[in-house]
């Protein structure tokens, strides 16, 4: 009795809502992930901007941004900027719901490459390329937000990953900086001989282990998609080689299946259980803090190339981008702010305030960055780094890769099978092109 009434009731109410649905003939017949920009690069006047401006920034950046903006407000007294800090957790849901309900702010920070994922909603305003030049920025970061030839975000800060290692253990084992894949593996095994339980912490599972694999794929000459982003190129030797290399660390027990989040591997690095790991700039401070006074046995090095050679192997670059929403009432001020935030001088100031590495290449010439010893390692890695391709389905594709990689690491499938499976899944997801 209850069951029937309950079910019927829900269906009755639902049927009432069915009226009025259907794609109108005037909308295009392109697949649903295609993008319709409202107006490509509307003319923006940033000389005398005014009016209120709503800005969202995430986490730490959200806390610190207001300090940076006092200068902006001095130079543009008629603009009234309000910064709202939003949490990292669930920020994607928050942005999506806001776009759905027409409640998005004027400007927001997003994690790279989320702009590409958000673009198909039509809720992002294309970047006015006469105002902000893509060439100023690291190529990969800029490209990551291009869909169908249109840019949807400007890189604000970048984040690249290098290898952290215990210098004392390396010294003890008499190890030199590795310059090839084989040498890297010997290096980490050597760290174990010198006392570390794990030669290297490689993420076995969980969110985005694929981002540790990708540099290896690039080092092996492969990539995620082809030139015009129409096809995935995962079922290739480069991928199979990279996956095999990744898995070999586990087979040789240089790494193990324990998944450690940020905050969990640093203490083990400090007490010598973990000999090395892959991470970004933020871990410099954290490792130093965890190690306390007198701990300076941490060294950084760039990725090696696959077959040996000078110069770093290709690394991964991510970071944070800035987007302007299509609904904005103050397009001029919004882009004006984005332009200001991505100028070299402001970028250096922001680095000094937050520690975020600049996305604008010119900013790296400034002594504040050029003269910093550890920052320079990241700078070296940036000489050869790639970002994720700008495809709208990138989140979903990476998740599929995460899972297959975990299977390979656990020995459930071979590297070739994993690559083939990744290709199959990625293709069924599509590039959204």
């Amino acid at each position: 009795m209850h069951r029937r009434t309950a079910a019927t009731s829900v269906i009755v109410v639902a049927a009432l809502a069915l009226a009025g649905c259907g794609r109108s003939e005037t909308t295009t017949t392109e697949p649903s992930t295609s993008v319709e920009p409202s107006s490509t690069a509307a003319v923006v006047e940033t000389d005398s901007i005014e009016g209120p401006l709503e800005v969202w920034a995430i986490g730490n950046e959200g806390e610190l941004l207001p300090d940076l903006l006092t200068e902006f407000e001095e130079t543009n007294p008629d603009v009234d900027v309000t910064v709202t800090a939003i949490p990292w957790e669930g920020y994607q849901d928050k942005l999506r719901t806001a776009v759905a309900g027409g409640q998005a702010p004027d400007v927001s920070m997003v994690g790279n490459p989320y702009a590409a994922v958000l673009a198909p909603t039509g809720g992002l305003d294309p970047v006015p390329t006469d105002l902000i030049a893509g060439d100023d920025f690291f190529e990969g970061s800029w490209d990551a937000s291009i869909i169908d030839g249109i840019s949807y975000a400007v890189p604000w800060y970048i984040d690249t990953r290098v290898i952290y290692y215990r210098t004392d253990l390396a010294e003890e084992a008499g190890l030199d900086q590795p310059t090839s894949w084989t040498e890297l593996q010997d290096f980490t095994a050597g760290l174990q001989d010198a006392g570390a339980e794990l030669g290297m912490y490689l993420q076995p599972s969980g969110n985005r282990n694929s981002l540790t694999l990708l540099p290896m794929v690039w080092q092996a000459g492969g990539d995620l998609v082809n030139e015009d982003k129409t096809e995935f190129t995962i079922d290739t030797d480069a991928w199979a080689d990279a996956i095999a290399y990744y898995v070999s660390y586990f087979d040789q027990e240089i790494s193990d299946l324990t998944y450690m989040q940020t905050g969990e591997y640093e203490p083990r690095f400090v007490n010598g259980d973990v000999g090395s790991f892959v991470s970004g700039p933020f871990d410099v401070a954290m490792v130093r803090e965890q190690g306390g006074e007198g701990f300076d046995d941490v060294g950084l090095m760039t990725w090696p190339q696959q077959d040996g050679g000078d110069g770093p192997g290709t690394g991964y670059v991510g970071g944070g981008d800035l987007v302007v929403f299509e609904d904005t009432d103050n397009r001029d001020a919004a882009w004006g702010l984005v332009q200001w935030l991505t100028e070299p001088e402001t970028q250096v100031e922001w680095f000094e305030l937050s520690g975020d590495l600049p996305s604008n290449q010119a900013a790296w010439d400034d002594p504040a960055l050029a003269d910093d010893e550890l920052v320079s390692v990241f700078g070296d890695q940036m000489d050869n780094a790639q970002a994720l391709p700008g495809i709208a389905t990138i989140s979903e594709v990476l998740t599929a890769i995460d899972l297959e990689l975990e299977k390979a690491v656990r020995g459930v499938v071979t590297p070739e099978e994993a690559a083939a499976a990744m290709q199959e899944e990625a293709t069924s997801i599509g590039t959204g092109a």
Binding site: G59, G90, G263, Q290
Partner: protein, 253 residues
């Protein structure tokens, strides 16, 4: 049973470095109130606390009243449409919440209630769970009691207010605790329904300041969690004696 809670208490007075340490320590080696200081310093604590209290308090009071009202109607009155209504209530109870999020946001937005306290309160002012609970409990009140009152000339409103509600104290106390807890700890809706940080509630604010892109500040998180628990515990301790008011159903002389 309580070990995780104790660990949390202990952790709230440890600096992050010690919390993360391996091998783990139990008693704090260098206890510090720094986490709590940070909690009140960095967060606009009074504001978030006030928001949380207003939202959770109103939702709880609303539920207590409205759910009882309809619970009484469903349990004790015969009327047209009763089956349909109860069926809908039970039906809604079973729909996974996650699916209603975007439509709900659009609805609240169309009503102009995004980023307002009513926007945080209204969608949860009554819950199917509350209705179900009160209906079950009120259903257990012997009909004779109510009939006696009716013979004495009392109308339904009077019966509801003077007889049924007092008898329901254990159930009401339970409902209040459950509702308050759910509302107090809720994260996802306050996150999307607040556009500016003066509308954040405590769980959202805590996540903002403690959970970063690169790692969590555990000490701050624990301190925050300890503080957030307090009002609920206080409410629980205040209400839990009502659970033992045993006179409700014994002996209708």
């Amino acid at each position: 049973m309580l070990f995780p809670f104790v660990w949390m208490l202990v952790g709230s007075v440890k600096p992050d470095v010690e919390i993360r340490q391996v091998p783990a320590t139990f008693l704090p080696q260098a206890p510090t109130l720094d986490n709590f200081v940070q909690l009140f310093d960095r967060l606009d604590f009074p504001r978030y606390f006030a928001n949380s209290v207003i939202v959770a308090g109103t939702v709880t009071a609303g539920n207590a009243l409205f759910s009882s009202m309809i619970g009484y109607a469903l349990a004790k009155l015969e009327f047209m449409g009763k089956r349909l209504l109860f069926g809908l209530v039970i039906g809604m109870l079973m729909v996974p919440h996650v699916v209603t999020f975007i439509p709900l946001f659009i609805m609240v937005s169309n009503l102009g209630l995004i980023n307002t306290l009513p926007g945080l309160i209204l969608p949860f002012l009554v819950t199917p769970l509350g209705v179900f609970l009160m209906r079950q409990f009120i259903g257990g009140i012997p009909d004779e009691l109510l009939e006696a009152a009716m013979i004495d000339g009392a109308g339904h409103v009077r019966i509801f207010w003077s007889i049924v509600m007092p008898l329901c104290r254990p159930a009401l106390a339970t409902l209040c605790i459950l509702t308050f807890l759910g509302s107090w700890n809720s994260f996802l809706w306050p996150l999307v329904a607040a556009l500016s940080d003066d509308m954040y509630t405590l769980p959202v604010a805590l996540s903002l300041f403690a959970v970063g892109q690169n790692g969590t500040q555990y000490g701050l998180l624990m301190a925050g969690a300890v503080v957030i628990i307090m009002p609920v515990l206080v409410l629980f301790i205040a209400l839990q004696r009502y659970f033992v008011e045993g006179i409700a159903f014994t002996g209708i002389k």
